[in-house]
C-alpha cells in the first residue's frame, strides 16, 4: 500500500505525527532535496523520507553531521532544488557557520531548515532556544502548534523561501514533533526540475566587497518578510477586552485549552503568532492599542517579550507587559495548560479552583525509579566491563553522545564528563594534558564520523595522551538505527561504500590500534591491557553490531541462552561467583522467587558475556533474541 504521505489524495484526513505532517507538507511543496543529521525529536522526519525514498521524487541523504547536511542542501538550493535540512536544536550549533552566511547568499531553489528544539530536555543536553539563531542569522520563523500546522507551515515555508530566494526556519519543539492529530491533505505542487547553478560571483561569493551589499540585501529581505508577517494567515487575532495575550508555538495550544478551562474564552484579546519573526510590528501595535495589560506566552527565552517591549516603547504605547522578565513565567522548561490558566486567572482576577488531583496524599515511600538501561546483549556493556576491569576508577572517562552515555549509571560508571557530539576525544585530550590524569574517551561510530575525526587528528598533531575507544555497533542506535558512513547494512539494504574506521585511524598516522569484538572478553582485556601500557594516542575499535539492529538488518538469530547452573550463594562462598548480578546490570538478570540469581530466557540475547565472567553460568539451547 502506497503511503498517504506520498500518495494521499487532496481532501483526505489522516492521523499524522507532527514529524510525518512535516514530510507531507514538504511533499506538497514539491520537495526535491532533503538532508539531515538525525536527533530526537527531529528524527522521524528524515527517517520517513528515507523509508519512502524508493518511491519519492526527491534526493535524500543522512549527512555525517549537521554542518555538512546544511552545506549539501545549500549547494542543492543554489543549483535550484527545493531543499530541506532537518536537525535537533543543538545540531544548529554545528551548522551555524554555513547558516549565518547562507542568509547572505540566498537560496534560489528554496530552503527550509527544521530545528527541533527540546524545552524540558526530554532527550537533550540543553534547552537552548533556536529562535535566537533566526535573529542572529536573519531568518523568518514559522512555529507550528498542531499536526495540521506542521504540514501547512512546512509547505508554506518552502514555497515562501523559493519565492523570496531566502532561507526559512521551521522551528518546532518536542511536544509538536511528537504529537499526533488529524491532517487534511492538499494537492501537491509540481515543480520544474532544478535549473542548475547560474554563475553570478557578486551574488554567491561573499568576499568582503560582495558581502557588504549582500548584508544590505538581507536586511531588505527581512523588511519584505516583516510585511508578509503583518498579513500572514498564521497570525490571527481573536477576543476582546483590555487584557491581551500574545502566544507562539505550542503555547498557543496551552492558551486555547486554558481559556476554555478558565471560562475566559472571548473575554481576553488574543494574538497568535505562527509567523513569529520578523515581528509584525504594525499588527502588534494595533493589537496593543487599548490594552492595559499584555501577557506574552513563549517557552524558554523572552525573545518576543523583549521585542514587544521595545516596540511599545518606540510607538509610545503605555501598558504593562508581563512574561518572564521579571516574571511570573519561567525562563526554563515547558509550559502547560495549568501554568497558562494560572497566569490568566492572575491577570483577570479570577479565583483559582482548589487543586483537584486524585493523589493528594504524599506517596508513603519514593517508588523505585526506572532509568533507561543498555539492552541485554549490548556490546557497549561488554566494552565497559572490560575497561573497568583494567582501569577501575583510576581513569577519567570522557564520554560522548549515544546509547553508550547510559554507561553513566552504576555499576558501569563509564561516563565522567560530556560536552557535546564529538567532544570525548578533544575534551579528553585537554583533561589529560591539564593534570596528567589517565583519560579514556568513549565515542560511537556515528559520533566518530560526525565530529570525532577532527579531534583525533588534533590529538595526533598535538601529541596528546589518550586512549580512544570507538564503540562501533555498525549503526546509529540511539536515534533509531540510521545509517552512517561506516555501516555495511541499512534498513533498506546493503551499503556498498562503507568507510573503514581502522584504515581511517591508521591513515592519520596512529599505529597503536587494536580491533576486537567486545563480546570476546579475553581478547578485549588483552587489547586494553596492551594499550594501557603505551602512551600517546591509542585507539581501541570495539566492533560488534547493536543486537536490535542485527536482528532487523542482518537477520541475526542466536540459538543459545545463558542460565545459572549453580547456586550463587554457594559460589560466593567458594569464591567462584563472578558477581555478574552486581557488575553487569544486564536486564535479563534477576532474583527469582527464592531470592536466587536467575536469567530470564525471554530477555537473554545470547551474547554470552556473563559466561566469560562466571563459571557458574552456562549456555543451553533456547530461542535467544
Amino acid at each position: 500500500m502506497a503511503s498517504p504521505l506520498l500518495a494521499g489524495a487532496p481532501g483526505e484526513t489522516h492521523l499524522l505525527l507532527g514529524n510525518e505532517a512535516i514530510v507531507r507538507g514538504a511533499v506538497e511543496a514539491g520537495i526535491q532535496f532533503v538532508s539531515c543529521y538525525p536527533g530526537t525529536p527531529s528524527s522521524e522526519v528524515p527517517d520517513t523520507f528515507f523509508r519512502l525514498s524508493p518511491e519519492g521524487a526527491y534526493s535524500f541523504e543522512y549527512s555525517v553531521n549537521e554542518k555538512v547536511a546544511l552545506e549539501v542542501a545549500a549547494g542543492a538550493t543554489l543549483a535550484g532544488a527545493l531543499s530541506l535540512t532537518t536537525m535537533k536544536h543543538v545540531g544548529v550549533n554545528v551548522a551555524a557557520d554555513p547558516l549565518l552566511t547562507l542568509t547572505y547568499l540566498g537560496t534560489p531553489g528554496g530552503f527550509v531548515l527544521l530545528s527541533a528544539d527540546d524545552p524540558g530536555c526530554h532527550s537533550s543536553q540543553n534547552e537552548q532556544d533556536n529562535r535566537i539563531y533566526a535573529r542572529l542569522a536573519g531568518l523568518p520563523v514559522l512555529e507550528p502548534a498542531t499536526a495540521q500546522e506542521c504540514k501547512d507551515m512546512a509547505r508554506a515555508g518552502l514555497t515562501l523561501s523559493r519565492e523570496l530566494g531566502a532561507p526559512v526556519l521551521l522551528r518546532t519543539t518536542t511536544r509538536v514533533n511528537h504529537l499526533r492529530g488529524p491532517v487534511v491533505l492538499a494537492e501537491p505542487s509540481v515543480l520544474p526540475a532544478p535549473a542548475g547553478f547560474q554563475k553570478n560571483p557578486a551574488r554567491f561569493v561573499p568576499i568582503p566587497a560582495f558581502a557588504r551589499p549582500m548584508h544590505l540585501r538581507l536586511l531588505e529581505t527581512l523588511d519584505r518578510l516583516r510585511g508578509l508577517a503583518e498579513v500572514s494567515p498564521f497570525n490571527t487575532v481573536s477576543g476582546t477586552g483590555t487584557v491581551g495575550v500574545v502566544a507562539s508555538g505550542i503555547s498557543r495550544a496551552y492558551l486555547s485549552d486554558a481559556l476554555a478551562e478558565t471560562g475566559l474564552e472571548g473575554a481576553v484579546k488574543v494574538l497568535e503568532l505562527g509567523f513569529s519573526h520578523p515581528l509584525p510590528e504594525n499588527l502588534l501595535a494595533s493589537f496593543m492599542e487599548g490594552l492595559t495589560t499584555l501577557l506574552v506566552l513563549e517557552e524558554l527565552e523572552p525573545v518576543l517579550e523583549t521585542e514587544i517591549r521595545a516596540l511599545a516603547q518606540r510607538r509610545g504605547l503605555v501598558l504593562t507587559i508581563l512574561g518572564k522578565t521579571p516574571g511570573p513565567l519561567p525562563r526554563f522548561g515547558e509550559y502547560g495548560v495549568a501554568l497558562v490558566a494560572e497566569a490568566l486567572r492572575e491577570l483577570s482576577g479570577t479565583a483559582a479552583p482548589k487543586a483537584d488531583c486524585a493523589c493528594q496524599a504524599p506517596q508513603p515511600a519514593p517508588l523505585p525509579n526506572r532509568p533507561p538501561n543498555l539492552c541485554a546483549g549490548c556490546p557497549h556493556r561488554a566494552t565497559y566491563v572490560a575497561v573497568r576491569k583494567i582501569f577501575g576508577d583510576a581513569a577519567v572517562y570522557s564520554s560522548d553522545i549515544g546509547c553508550y552515555t547510559l554507561g553513566i549509571l552504576p555499576p558501569l560508571k563509564a561516563a565522567d564528563f560530556l560536552v557535546c557530539m564529538g567532544s570525548s576525544i578533544s575534551a579528553g585530550c585537554g583533561a589529560a594534558k591539564a593534570a596528567g590524569q589517565t583519560v579514556v574517551g568513549f565515542i560511537g561510530d556515528s559520533t566518530f564520523f560526525h565530529s570525532g575525526i577532527t579531534g583525533l587528528v588534533n590529538a595526533v598533531f598535538n601529541r596528546h595522551d589518550i586512549l580512544v575507544v570507538i564503540l562501533d555497533n555498525r549503526t546509529t542506535a540511539m536515534t533509531g538505527h540510521q545509517p552512517n558512513p561506516g555501516v555495511d547494512k541499512t534498513t533498506l539494504g546493503d551499503n556498498p561504500v562503507s568507510v573503514d574506521i581502522e584504515k581511517l585511524v591508521r591513515g592519520i598516522g596512529i599505529e597503536q590500534v587494536r580491533k576486537v569484538n567486545p563480546l570476546n572478553l579475553k581478547a578485549t582485556l588483552k587489547a586494553i591491557g596492551e594499550l594501557k601500557d603505551m602512551s600517546g594516542v591509542r585507539v581501541l575499535i570495539a566492533q560488534e553490531p547493536c543486537p536490535l539492529f542485527a536482528r532487523r538488518a542482518y537477520g541475526q538469530k542466536r540459538t543459545q541462552v545463558a542460565y545459572v547452573a549453580a547456586d550463587c550463594a554457594d559460589a560466593a562462598k567458594d569464591g567462584s561467583c563472578g558477581d555478574c548480578l552486581n557488575t553487569l546490570a544486564c536486564p535479563a538478570f534477576h532474583l527469582d522467587e527464592a531470592g536466587k540469581m536467575a536469567i530470564d530466557p525471554l530477555l537473554c540475547s545470547g551474547c554470552m558475556l556473563c559466561l566469560q565472567l562466571c563459571s557458574n553460568i552456562k549456555a543451553r539451547k533456547g530461542d535467544a533474541k
Partner: protein, 196 residues
C-alpha cells in the same frame, strides 16, 4: 461546552504503549472526534518509562497533574507513579502484572506489593479496573496484545464517546490480518474480563 476528555497512558519501553495510543487515536478520529495525542519517549526503547496522552476536544497534546479523566497503566508500578496525573474521581485501569525495574529485579530496591498498589489506586480513584494484561495477551496470541485487552476493558466501562466496535473496526482497518486477529481477540478478552 463541547466534549473534553483526557487520557493518560503509561508503560515500559517495548510494551506497545504507543501502538495502543495510536490505535485509540485513530479510532477517535474515525468516530469524528477532534483528537490530539502526544508521546514522550526519548530513551524509551532502553527499558525506561513511556508516557503518552490522548485528548479529545483539546488543542494541547500534554496532560498536567490532576488533569487526566482516565489513566491507563500498562504496568502496575507505572500506574502508581502516574496517579498524580489523574483528576479526583477519575477512572483508572491497570495491568496487575509487573515488569520490575532493574533495581527491584536485582534485589537492590523494593517495589510495593501488587495488593498495596491496588489499594492505593482504589483509594485515589473513582472507578477502577485491574486486568492481568500479560496473561490475556498471551491467551490472545501475543504478549504485546495485552495492551489492547486494557483498551477492551476501557470500552466495556462505557468511558469513551465511542464503543468497542469502533476500536475493532480500526484494528481491522489498520493492522495486517494475522496481527488484527490476535488484537481483536485481546480486545474481546479485556472487555469480558470481570470487575473485581
Amino acid at each position: 461546552m463541547s466534549l473534553r476528555l483526557r487520557i493518560f497512558m503509561t508503560g515500559v519501553g517495548g510494551q506497545g504503549t504507543l501502538t495502543a495510543t495510536t490505535l485509540l487515536a485513530r479510532a477517535a478520529l474515525s468516530a469524528g472526534l477532534p483528537v490530539t495525542s502526544g508521546e514522550i519517549h526519548g530513551m524509551a526503547q532502553r527499558g525506561g518509562v513511556v508516557e503518552s496522552t490522548l485528548l479529545i476536544g483539546c488543542k494541547s497534546p500534554k496532560i498536567g497533574h490532576g488533569e487526566a479523566d482516565i489513566l491507563l497503566g500498562f504496568e502496575p508500578l507505572e500506574t502508581l507513579r502516574a496517579l498524580p496525573y489523574l483528576r479526583a474521581g477519575g477512572l483508572a485501569l491497570s495491568s496487575t502484572e509487573s515488569l520490575p525495574p532493574l533495581s527491584v529485579a536485582t534485589g537492590k530496591e523494593k517495589s510495593p506489593e501488587i495488593a498495596d498498589i491496588k489499594a492505593r489506586v482504589v483509594e485515589a480513584c473513582g472507578r477502577t479496573r485491574f486486568l492481568p494484561c500479560r496473561t490475556l495477551g498471551l491467551e490472545a496470541g501475543a504478549v504485546q496484545s495485552g495492551n489492547i485487552a486494557l483498551l477492551g476493558a476501557l470500552c466495556a466501562m462505557d468511558a469513551l464517546p465511542f464503543g468497542l466496535e469502533v476500536v475493532a473496526a480500526t484494528i481491522r482497518a489498520t493492522m495486517k490480518p494475522k496481527v488484527a486477529e490476535v488484537n481483536l481477540k485481546a480486545l474481546e478478552l479485556g472487555a469480558a474480563y470481570p470487575a473485581e
